[in-house]
């Protein structure tokens, strides 16, 4: 297991925890996407609905909005902590150099209430001139089909 790949997915999660959204966005390749499907083993975003399916341009809008003071769903902001574990790396395919799989537990606290999310994460990473970049971050929640209250920050 490469220390570099492990450090990358841990640091990526921490940027979200710390609400450093612009820095987080910069980890995505120009053709990168963030995807949280609704179905287990969903093969593509064209097969079924998704909680999130955002290409780079849409992620930029999401981040720009999260940084505004009038994004009501984040007033006050959620405090979040991501626990990343069981990290496994494999050689990439499909336009990426590495595939990193991990387990993710997200604890969220906002306005006196806690929420928990858990799932498996797939990072497809490409080595670019500036460093490792995300071609795809896919999050498969164990509760992907369950009703969810508002979601503002990616898992």
């Amino acid at each position: 297991m490469s220390d570099e790949l492990q450090a990358f997915v841990v640091a990526e999660a921490r940027l979200l925890d710390e609400r450093r959204f612009s820095d987080w966005l910069a980890l995505f390749a120009a053709d990168g996407a963030y995807w949280a499907p609704t179905r287990r083993a969903q093969r593509s975003p064209e097969e079924a609905l998704s909680l999130f399916y955002e290409t780079r341009a849409l992620l930029e809008v999401r981040v720009a909005r999260l940084e505004r003071p009038d994004a009501h769903v984040q007033v006050p902001p959620a405090r979040m902590l991501r626990h990343v574990s069981a990290i496994e790396a494999a050689p990439g395919g499909e336009g990426c150099d590495h595939e990193v799989r991990s387990s993710l537990i997200v604890a969220e606290w906002r306005e006196g209430e806690s929420r928990w999310f858990a799932g498996r994460v797939l990072h497809r990473l490409r080595r670019e001139a500036a460093g490792l970049r995300i071609v795809l971050k896919r999050v498969d929640l164990i509760s992907s089909e369950a009703p969810q209250r508002a979601l503002a920050v990616p898992f």
């Binding site: 079924a48 609905l49 930029e60 809008v61 209250r149």
Partner: protein, 429 residues
Amino acid sequence: MAATIDALLRSDAVHRAAYVDPGVFALEESRIFRRVWLYVAHESEVARAGDYVLRRMGPEEVVLVRREDGGLSLLYNRCAHRGARLVTEPQGSLRQFRCSYHAWTYRLDGSLAGVPLASGYAEPPSRGMARVPRLESYKGFLFGSHAAAGEGLAEFLGGLASAFDNMLDRAPAGTLTRFGGALRLEYRGNWKMFMENAVDLVHPTFVHKSSVEAARSHAEAMEADPLARQGTQMFVANGMRAQEWEAVPLRAFPQGHVYMGGFYRSGVIAPQPEDPVFERYRRLLVERHGEEKAAAVLAVDRFNNLVWPNLSVNARFAALRIVHPLAADRTVVEVQCFRLDGAPSQMHDLTLQFVNLAASPASLIASDDLEIFERCQRGLESSGEDWIDLRRGAAADWRDADGSTTSPGTSEVAIRTQFAAWRRCMSAE
């Protein structure tokens, strides 16, 4: 109790108890959700004999199943013996229902097929699964009612049946197929808030400002990205000015149904995409309908079509939102979409993308709506002031000969109309 309902609703205001009182919610369950027609499923979801879906109708869990004779049964999901739920998967296929507890079995029409140790009864049990009293189809859209008597489905849908007609007309093959699973949203607020907000055209300017402004500032990048393009249009549409919303007419019907018209006319949300895929789709529609009718079908520019009490229909994007009240302060909304059969597959991709962006709990639009509903609920739990004003635009309500009312988009006519239907149902013993 009728006197109590009258005490909750004035012509110009509603008492906050309508949103927060568990007693009022219980009465809504019995007098609205156990009586009116409720959307259950589309016939394409139970295509073959044995196919079933598990659904919610007001406070009840029901199973819709296709029988061997091709007909449909709508049954309460409960064993006639000890009351256990019979089906626990959201959908599937079965030859008969078999209870996991004592193995009572039922045929697909709900009748009792077998009872182990039947000799233990002096007179063998004969009661099957209870049937939901009424099940009717409107062109493949299946509705049920817990009440044995009442108006027919077509009469109930009234002026809103045209929303289903338009969705079907948009399918080159003339049929629809449910696809893509579902999105489910939850909020700690009253179910009526969702139905009111869907035709409240003043809130987008304020509630959705952060997303509108963020999208505007990235308009170029979004236009260049095929996945994002549709999103830009929707976000920007939510940033229309009050005068523009004013020009979106609301039409409200006595049954409590409402639609907003003229939405795409202003050219800001999802204009007919002038690309080769759409042109191919348009030609297929012309093959089915002829030029004139195809143009008319595509020109129908209503956005939300609300069937009171709990269904929102979007014909243009072939999507439904079904509102499930769980408690006075807890609601789940399920979002579903359809393939326009015969259309190019890229049209189905656009449907999924639109529904993801507009209606997911993570949507930059819907997430702020959910937040506002929760703020309203918590605010209304305060007894500082009991009455909620419903007067905006009342002077401009224009009554049509058919009993419907047309008002400018900024009117609260939709809320007034929904409450008029609410009062009628809630006052009936």
